[in-house]
Amino acid sequence: MPKDKNIYTFTAGLPGLPTELNKFELVSLASDSPFFFLQSVQDETVCFILVNPFMFFTDYEFEITNDVTEVMDMNASEQLAVFCIVNAGKGLKDATVNLLAPVILNVATGKARQVVLVDKRYTIRHPLSVNKPPSEKEDK
């Protein structure tokens, strides 16, 4: 199934949002930025800040279970993009990242899902220290 450019469908919706808000555009801000916007196609007031978690948390890892690969029609991990939602409601200084429930995108099919990990290392509100420039870690 070919997909519209950068439009992703959360086939099961996003918990907490009305189920009809399931189409989002992934907006990249700059090629070297860890930040992205996930903008609702159906409601312009709904936008999430996403972060590439691996640029801030270099040892972030998880296994994607079979049930997730099945519902997202995934055959290869190359098709996957992983992002985490940033909560910056109290300003960027006090922003947190949801490492417990990453957003997984299938770049080939445009299907997306927020999965909940079973991993005690990760929390739903992990502090994000923006002051540490992610560029330092890019060398690796």
């Binding site: 086939t11 099961a12 919706g13 996003l14 918990p15 907490g16 949002l17 801000l29 700059a30 070297d32 930025s33 930040f35 916007f37 007031t45 709904v46 936008c47 999430f48 800040i49 049930d67 099945e70 519902v71 997202m72 939602i85 940033v86 909560n87 910056a88 409601g89 300003g91 960027l92 922003a95 949801n98 417990l100 429930a101 299907k111 927020q114 909940v116 739903i124 509100r125 923006v130 420039p133 560029s135």
Partner: protein
């Protein structure tokens, strides 16, 4: 709430395409298998409430959006110079 008694290996159908299988019972732990279409989200209840609240709070306000936009602009400029 509908209450049914099931034995290990038995299952329950909900609607046309959701099936719940009772896989194993050990002490007070029950393992459950779930078959459901891809548009049905399945989450553990205790985390589902927290996740819903967190997602609602994480919807970005205009301040946060412009903070991010500025940050990206600044770091972009830094690297160019």
């Amino acid at each position: 709430m509908l209450v049914l008694t099931r034995k290990k290996g038995q299952s329950i159908n909900i609607g046309n395409d959701i099936r719940v299988v009772l896989l194993d019972v050990t002490g007070d732990t029950v393992r459950i298998g779930l078959d459901a279409p891809s548009d049905v989200a399945i989450y553990r209840s205790e985390i589902f409430q927290t996740l819903r609240r967190e997602n609602r709070e994480a919807v970005a306000n205009l301040n946060a959006i412009s903070e991010i936009e500025n940050l990206v602009k600044i770091s972009h400029k830094d690297r160019k110079s």
